[in-house]
Symmetry: C2
Subunit: 772 residues, 2 copies
């Protein structure tokens, strides 16, 4: 844990230069716009510790799998969102001396990520080895208005000398991925050109043959007046640059404006890529940095209008939650159904930048509530488009008849993960993908989605579950053998309660969905039966048989669901009894010891209770919570939010707030000591859930919103915006009670504190907290 960032409600601020934390800051201060992303690397040369990261959404490389001992069924490659062109680079020399903060005395240093307006600014004063001092203010952003454009304003002022300043803005695709399995470079050059202050490189990914064209165009001013410079161009392998020198007097502001663009063949014909890039750059250049910035500020204001959470009385919490919302909005805009949300977003390479079940289980609720419903729908369609690959994936594992197993990690629908206990056994992800369809329809009411796309996915997943269970003659019930639940500190267990529960839930929901389509859209139903080659009578009967005869591990004496068979055979020690030096277990204990222990990495039974809470009475929830919480080490960033929401539901407001705190500033405070690899982007959605579903008690039941809010003791108020079926609500909770505004021209019926309420169009309702 490191607390070196300044608390501020709207900005992330670093005061003073900390090279030892540079990689952490590079992650935290990352910029993105859903289409491209950029770690907070320096524009000028920096030979100190750094992890270069420039990413273009959807462009990946299938990196040959690295494995110790090959297991049958492993995928051939891991598809990685790869490090792309460095488009921010501006090398600087001063009278021939390279500006490199690693070799300077840094007299002043400040970084600010302005989240309200969506830009990054770095200000420093550096003394070079020669004694010359310069001041630099470098400001940049990735435009959310034109998501192929990035813009930089690099202002340099000689402080104690007059001299020749040489700039070399460049585009460099000769980059590596730090996590390349075999130390290969992933890009080949296609084309490049440089002329004057303009330059372009088109590169192609090996194997996948994506083309990306990256360009730059430069403008230079001295004390506000444009300077005509005479640039020398350089072209080397996958690299173009324009070098020019300006004589600047002491205290003159010398500004290099760099307009850059990344265009990919995912969105442009390859043969027009260069021309289109030139056009995009020309248009952005014509607007100029300042105009682009103003548009950026406006666009971010609109985003915040819909997704902000305001916390009064706790600036650290305010900063934390805004940072989470900001990063989520930087990562995924929902405009392109081919894209998804990698666990690190555009802030690092780890986990390959690929899609995990995090999307369905954690991110979907955020986008459902804060964006147009098309955004969440696109997340579902993404999986629909991968259905055939999921069927092929299941076939590789021996399943038949259209059974679908969605991959643990994917970019293009193919499985990338290669750890048998996860790849083959952590199959509950399949349930989350089914549940996301339910969640989406519950929230939006868009049940036409079932006929259009949903049912096919549900049937594929149900076929998988029906084949994945087997009849135990010993138990006279179906069992689910050899699985890994959400708690990855158990592998290859039998009858994981969560997995079995979500499996039969899927079967039930699929039966309902089929019936719904049959009743509401009979012709489409017939079409679907044909497309899916569904033997309706036989298959649905078998599914019902599984539903009716499934075994669920439980302990009647304790009144709890059992995480898996034999869980009570473990030594029943508690987290509170663990010596501090043994934590985190995943760094201190050998893997077998973790597996044998009772300790739970992340919510598992409780994840199921969270998803299906309406099935269980409060006492059942409490017994399970009281049993599992003390055994949970929360060594996944996805865990505390679920515990927070359940604690809130059980009235334990203090614990609910405690769990919330563990994730809200996870990256800002480098809580897990790993932010240098990138931010925990998907778990940021869990933080949002803690506030809205936990503190706000928001649920959707029977086509209505329900709120059951409380306020954490240290806060004076908090408020959040919610989109719901065309309505925009502002929910504000303070010490007295809750005020909900309906920013819509239709009245809205909803339930607050378990009481039905109607809020008039553009009206509001105000209720006092209930006395327990």
């Amino acid at each position: 844990m490191k607390q070196y960032l300044t608390i501020d409600e709207w900005s992330i601020i670093e005061e003073g230069f900390r090279p030892e934390y540079n990689r952490i800051s590079e992650s935290v201060f990352s910029l993105g716009n859903g289409r491209m992303g950029q770690r907070a690397n320096f524009e000028e040369t920096y030979t100190g510790e750094t992890l270069q990261g420039n990413y273009v959404a959807g462009v990946y490389y299938p990196d040959k799998t690295r494995v110790g001992w090959w297991k049958n069924g492993y995928p051939e490659y891991f598809a990685k969102v790869l490090n792309a062109a460095n488009w921010i680079g501006i090398d600087v020399t001063i009278d021939g001396e390279t500006l490199d903060l690693h070799h300077c005395q840094v007299l002043e240093f400040r970084r600010e990520l302005n989240m309200r307006e969506g830009w990054l600014e770095r200000t420093f004063t550096a003394q070079l080895p020669s004694g010359k001092q310069v001041r630099v203010v470098a400001k940049r952003f990735t435009s959310i208005v034109d998501d192929e454009v990035g813009a930089i304003k690099y202002c340099l002022t000689p402080l104690n000398f007059s001299g020749n300043i040489t700039f070399t803005p460049f585009v460099d695709v000769d980059v590596m991925n730090a996590d390349s399995n075999y130390d290969e470079k992933f890009w080949n050059e296609v084309q490049k050109e440089a002329q004057g202050l303009e330059g372009y490189v088109t590169a192609e990914t090996k194997k996948t043959a994506f083309h990306v064209c990256t360009g730059q165009k430069i403008k230079v001013t001295l004390d506000g007046e444009e300077v005509a410079v005479d640039a020398t161009t350089t072209e080397t392998s996958k690299y173009v640059a324009s070098t020019f020198t300006v004589a600047a007097n002491q205290d003159q502001d010398l500004i290099v404006y760099k307009i850059a663009a990344n265009l990919s063949s995912e969105n442009h014909p390859k043969e027009q890529l260069l021309a289109n890039t030139k056009q995009v750059i020309a248009e952005a250049y014509a607007k100029g940095f300042q105009q682009l910035l103003l548009e950026q500020i406006d666009a971010w204001a609109a985003k915040w209008e819909e997704s902000d959470i305001v916390i009064e009385g706790d600036a650290a919490a305010q900063q934390g939650i805004r940072f989470n919302i900001f990063q989520l909005n930087q990562t995924y805009t929902g405009e392109d159904e081919r894209l998804n949300i990698g666990p690190k977003g555009f802030t690092g390479e780890k986990y390959g930048g690929s899609t995990y079940w995090d999307t369905e289980a954690y991110c979907l609720p955020f986008y459902l509530a804060t964006a147009d419903q098309q955004v969440a729908r696109n997340l579902l369609v993404y999986r629909y488009k991968h259905l055939q690959k999921a069927i092929e994936n299941a076939e590789k594992l021996g399943f038949t008849n259209g059974a679908a197993l969605y991959p643990m990690v994917t970019i293009n629908g193919e499985e990338c993960h290669n750890e048998w206990e996860i790849t083959f056994e952590e199959i509950h992800r399949n349930g989350a993908i089914a549940h996301a369809i339910y969640d989406y329809i519950r929230y939006t009411g868009d049940d036409a989605y079932l006929a259009e796309y949903g049912v096919e996915v549900l049937v594929g997943i149900s076929r998988f579950w029906a084949q994945r269970v087997n009849w135990s003659a010993a138990k006279n019930q179906y069992v689910m053998l050899g699985v890994t639940g959400p708690n990855e500190y158990e592998n290859n267990v039998n009858n994981n309660w969560y997995t079995s529960t979500i499996a039969t839930w899927t079967l039930e929901y699929t039966l309902k969905a089929l019936k719904h389509v049959q009743e509401t859209n009979p012709s489409r139903y017939q079409e679907l039966v044909g497309v899916m080659n569904l033997d309706v009578a036989k298959e649905t009967e078998q599914w019902q048989h599984v539903i009716d005869h499934m075994f669920y591990a439980e302990d009647k004496d304790l009144g709890i669901f059992l995480q898996q068979d034999g869980f009570l055979d473990k030594e029943q020690t508690l987290v509170k009894d663990l010596p501090a030096e043994d934590r985190p277990l995943n760094q201190k204990w050998s893997w077998d010891r973790i597996l044998r222990s009772v300790f739970i990495k992340q919510a598992d039974v409780l994840q199921g209770i969270y998803l299906f809470e309406d099935r269980y009475d409060l006492e059942t929830i409490r017994r399970n919570y009281d049993f599992y919480e003390p055994r949970t080490v929360h060594e996944s960033s996805l865990s505390p939010c679920v515990h927070s929401i359940l604690a809130a539901k059980l009235g334990d407001e203090e614990r609910a707030y405690e769990f919330y705190l563990r994730t809200a500033r996870l990256d800002l405070d480098d809580y897990n000591n790993d932010t240098e690899d990138g931010c925990h982007t998907t778990s940021m959605a869990g933080t949002w859930m803690s506030v809205v579903q936990g503190f706000g008690g928001m649920r959707v039941r029977d086509n209505q919103l329900h709120f059951n809010p409380f306020i954490p003791a240290g806060w004076s108020s908090y408020s959040f915006k919610i989109r719901f079926r065309g309505h925009l609500l502002n929910v504000k909770v303070n010490k007295e009670g809750v005020v909900i505004e309906n920013q819509h021209i239709q009245p809205l019926s909803l339930t607050i504190f378990d009481q039905p309420q109607t809020i008039e169009a553009n009206g509001k309702v105000q209720l006092a907290h209930q006395v327990a």
Copy 2:
């Protein structure tokens, strides 16, 4: 399965050149002498498919671990017996044209591995692209008399021309390991020299700094007369060669004798390595090829005198069993307690050439019965010397107080394996190491071994077991969670019956062993208690508590021991119902499917019943055998022998023979399609066990040998030699009965067909088969 080798009782013979099988033949025709080993690579250049393999016992390289996803506790390296100097090389050119069978028309080709005399001969007639024909007879051996020496006689005859034949005998240490994790070369050059017909290279292994000096000295004859040749020497990186040309007339026999030696710093001071190598070569050279060969033949005759099995009426079986015995004797001589038996011996790189539990579970009985007891004792001392490393290994996994976990794979006592379900969980290996002590003492009567070395190992292992179990409040018994049994087609299971059984057996035996030492050697006992820091009362009481309260999975209805908790929840299909195209499962099914299935890779419960057979009545053994055998796919070469022995015990002679056949010719017929990687050396000891313990029914109980033989239907007789406590017995079984000769000057009491018998000194006893 490939049956291309000629059946012969004493030789392995390949007639005709089959480049596509060359790698298989290179494994099968391997030579070794316990100190060095050599695949059957060609002397002259060969650019076709080949796996070069030259190995020097005890010289290894710690190859950096390669892994997909790192788990806490994994070792940093895998210690591999590495490919060492090529000492056999003799490049040949004929009037400037390279002799390379890959580019010749091979008119005749024959390879013979003469097992009776211990040499390899390759005879071929080749027509070069120019049309020139030569005949070559290349004979070589690795001496078991001087185990640092190898000798080659390479005879070339021009058949249809007279011309200049150029030879370049060389020593080359610039070699690679095919299974290097990161494609590195493992040797650095220390020194080299070449002069005339002599040359030496000393090389050092990276990291481990072993030095090996390899030398050659050449003699040339033409039609039997020594030829004085004028040699040019070549020295390049890690390589020396002497090149000379001889003018030979048609039909003249031109012979190159190459005397080579490998001396390692394991056996010589580094500073004397070169001088000693020169001396070893000089002495061998002085003796000459023919004299060395005669000594070799005599020495092998003596080996066979003690370890042969003679089968009459089945030449294929005869060849198979002799091949197994020959390879075992080539791999391990038992003279050096630092050495052990790698799963592939000196025939390939796979599995790193390291020590597995195969040694204790399969190889020990062979060496106990066919060699001086010092040989088996050295195998035990090897583990004793690794005790401290085993304690450190257990400490890494969280164990304390001198608990010892022997590694799954090792050369120097440190764990090398990196697959958590094996490395951390396949802990039954610890039991095999304890049981080997029992087995050794049972066979030899050398119970003084306990006080000297045995007890310390037993206490270390018992401490491990006592910490590895945990008390299950649910069962009110001790349980053993998260293990992998011998059946590696199950991972991370609870209460594997075999593991739990051998664990408590170890505790019981350790208690007995401590008591024995206390009674027979009280001063040493006191010393040991101090050395081991043993809290006698507390620790032995705890062990007894575990013995008394251990949970063993079983099914009372079926009357069987359960391989693990929940085994009967699996779908109970049988091997006979598997489609042929699904076999072998490990190549056809994904790993999770194998894990969920009922199918058993190798004897597991039955392994325990085999080890502890005297605990169980015949009906219990039969019920377990009848349950587990039909579920066993025998996809480990170590499996059929155990089933063979149990089938024999249960009177199922036909199945016993069937299982025997599966391993006896495993490599000769490339049964598993993987002999190209090397032979299955350790499982060869299992084949021997099938004959001696299975067909011969040999056991040791109460310090006596027991025999209960039968004869497979197709054989007319078989006989084997057994060493037992100073006696040498010859056991011959034919259709009528059994004849046992006592080749010793003391009488021997033993039990045959459950009847006590005494055989006089140098006498014999003859008994008819019992009528069932």
